[in-house]
Symmetry: C2
């Protein structure tokens, strides 16, 4: 079964908003064994939406649209869908009751624009939007279906999980993806290492290389032709060939892997961050259950914080600079001792664009890992761009932690 996404909204096409919805939907469709064939982003324009619908219906069984369902004048999706499917708007008493109920708990009054939200296309099936006022609409077009959802990510996610996916039902196709993560080898060297393996793979098996922030994810995909056992065989072979560089046997983010390892062992961690500025803390506290292993951080963006809260002696900073092995080790040991965790990670580096020197150029990052068995530190050169440097520093910090935990 084949699906397409049409995202509707000028904001995506002038770059005001990054489309995170499509990747999320794509992942869910995959889990359900539904192939996502294409993503198309179009303007809030009648002609453009209609052209995109025509094209998508010529290729796919399921069309998912996001956006253009707000109560304001710029949102036209509902009206265009009415025209496209030859129907008109009628009041839906259940949607009306739901919206009135939503507003019963809100300070603001239900006004006449919000009231237009309970006008729905007569020919559409209306599914419940538990968290918002825009109706979820499903249209049938012969054997094909179109589902229209809001563009607000939180609303779209609840709509997909609670309504649209169960509606579509589990498809029969047996798509299998298996991913592992490696680090410490360039992409082209990895490809040469795997050349014979790739040449010997059945033609229905596909291997993709996905490099990001110093990690390469290797994804094996089979679209319905291989059994679970055959897939395991190929995946195990891949693990074996890459074992020297292997950091994870799943596609889970590294902070989730770290969290599982620590939680299982009843161990805890804290962080002391300079150049990463809280990014590592935000990563480690991102997922539910993180309070079991993550205790906290001191973000010492200013040097005074390093001295006062992390007890780094001013003379050490003066002698070695803040971006140094000495400072980062004291930061890690100090936070580990103060918070009383099993592990601690500290970062100090030059994220740029200014602050670099000949001996410590922008991109230089020292990271220290304080453990029950002592402290180690490493220096990295992580590129030239601020965001890249701090993202990569977080990955380096987690990669080494996973190695220390293994």
């Amino acid at each position: 079964m084949r699906a397409e996404i049409i995202t509707i909204g000028d904001e995506l096409l002038i770059g005001q908003v990054v489309d995170t919805n499509s990747a999320w939907i794509a992942e869910k469709l995959n889990e359900y064994g539904i192939e996502l064939y294409q993503i198309t982003s179009v303007h809030d324009s009648r002609e453009h939406i209609i052209a995109a619908l025509d094209e998508a219906f010529s290729r796919a069984d399921i069309i998912l649209t996001t956006g253009g369902l707000g109560p304001t004048k710029d949102d036209i999706t509902k009206h265009v869908l009415c025209e496209y499917f030859g129907t008109h708007l009628i009041e839906d008493v259940r949607v009306r009751a739901h919206i009135e109920q939503l507003y019963a708990n809100r300070p603001e009054v239900l006004n006449r624009l919000t009231a237009t939200q309970w006008l729905v296309p007569e020919k559409a099936e209306i599914l419940e939007n538990r968290v918002g006022s825009a109706p979820l609409m499903v249209f049938h077009h012969g054997k094909q279906i179109l589902a229209s959802m809001p563009g607000v990510p939180y609303e779209m996610k609840v709509a997909m999980e609670e309504q649209i996916l169960p509606y579509i039902g589990r498809a029969t196709a047996n798509i299998i993806h298996r991913t592992l993560q490696v680090t410490g080898i360039p992409e082209s060297s990895l490809a040469i290492l795997l050349e014979e393996y790739e040449a010997s793979m059945p033609s229905t098996l596909h291997l993709a290389y996905l490099p990001k922030d110093g990690i390469i994810r290797l994804r094996l995909s089979s679209y319905g032709d291989l059994s679970e056992d055959e897939m395991n065989h190929w995946f195990n072979e891949l693990k074996h060939l890459t074992k020297e560089y292997l950091i994870a046997e799943t596609d889970e983010p590294l902070e989730v892997i770290v969290g599982k390892m620590l939680t299982e062992r009843h161990q805890t961690i804290a962080t002391a961050e300079s150049c990463t500025g809280g990014k590592l803390a935000a990563l480690l506290s991102k997922h539910p259950g993180s309070s079991a292993f993550y205790y906290g951080s001191v973000v010492s963006y200013d040097n005074s914080v390093k001295e006062h809260l992390l007890e780094v002696p001013a003379e050490i900073i003066k002698a070695h600079g803040v971006v140094s092995e000495e400072v980062v080790c004291i930061m890690a040991e100090s936070i580990r001792k103060q918070i009383g965790t099993d592990f601690a990670i500290a970062t100090s580096g030059i994220a740029g664009p200014t602050g670099g020197s000949k001996t410590k150029p922008v991109g230089t990052v020292w990271i220290a890992w304080a453990t029950p068995d002592g402290t180690t530190a490493e220096c990295f050169q992580l590129g030239k761009l601020r965001e890249q440097i701090t993202d990569r520093a977080c990955m380096k910090a987690l990669v080494k932690l996973i190695k220390l935990l293994n």
Copy 2:
């Protein structure tokens, strides 16, 4: 002049990667007066790429493709473009010299897969890819052009800024977008407030509502028909009508606005975060120059950190709970005093999915602002979803800070 983007890569269609490139390119094209008509994401498949090229060439003057240029087997863009434009690969001596130069400074050896990167389509113009080994290719198709770039965001950005945009040149159209940000009013009430204004707008002017995390961005767009003066007139009128809810007169992220205000006044800020777990610190330290005003944070994810590093007395936590006005005020005052900044913000809340109670359900967040004139705190109900709650808490923290600074 009209452009389209075609992103090439299975990873986008199975949701393994979020497409951030398109929004970035869209913004740049707009600055250059080039309208982006559509974004299409397709598989690493010969037939699919060719179909997308045919469709895009039927609509646009400029086609920009990203992705599929790596040295590995799954990347086929270069070969498909050769076929599409009826040409073949030849060795390019300049590209070869550049790649050899790149590898002269790297620890790894230049292997034979990387060597395929200096094979380029004979009919393409090759532009320099200063930061990577994939060639930047420009094809001519009558008066239309196609430019092919790598999908790695850092490489794509350098390619666009240094090569592709100067190559394309600025169009004459005067595309103007002006955005302001409001808060404290629901989208539909705002639309009613602006009903007369919208009805009186010239038909070439467009108003869009973009709600996110409790902030609504209002964007006025004109595609080449209005003068700067006329646009200012309409924008000023919009500011006047929304003045009660206005939080920013630009599209800049709130943390950038806060940073500019503080830097201008030579004032500083620190944070103490519980439920936001470092997200607020990461926001405040995200942009270049943040070290001028942002000093640091204590992320007190575990209660022991609140007691030891933020000096919140255990009996206060026992009496009021960690999610309380009392605790959050002490957190803010303690970090402000310890780090010695002008302002401090503290957060404590229940991000869920567990930990809620009848009186303090998931989504309850206390925020305190410690200032030179004293400390205030507010309690918010920020929804049901972990990510939504912490994102909204950061926005609430910054909104009130901007109000306090004004």
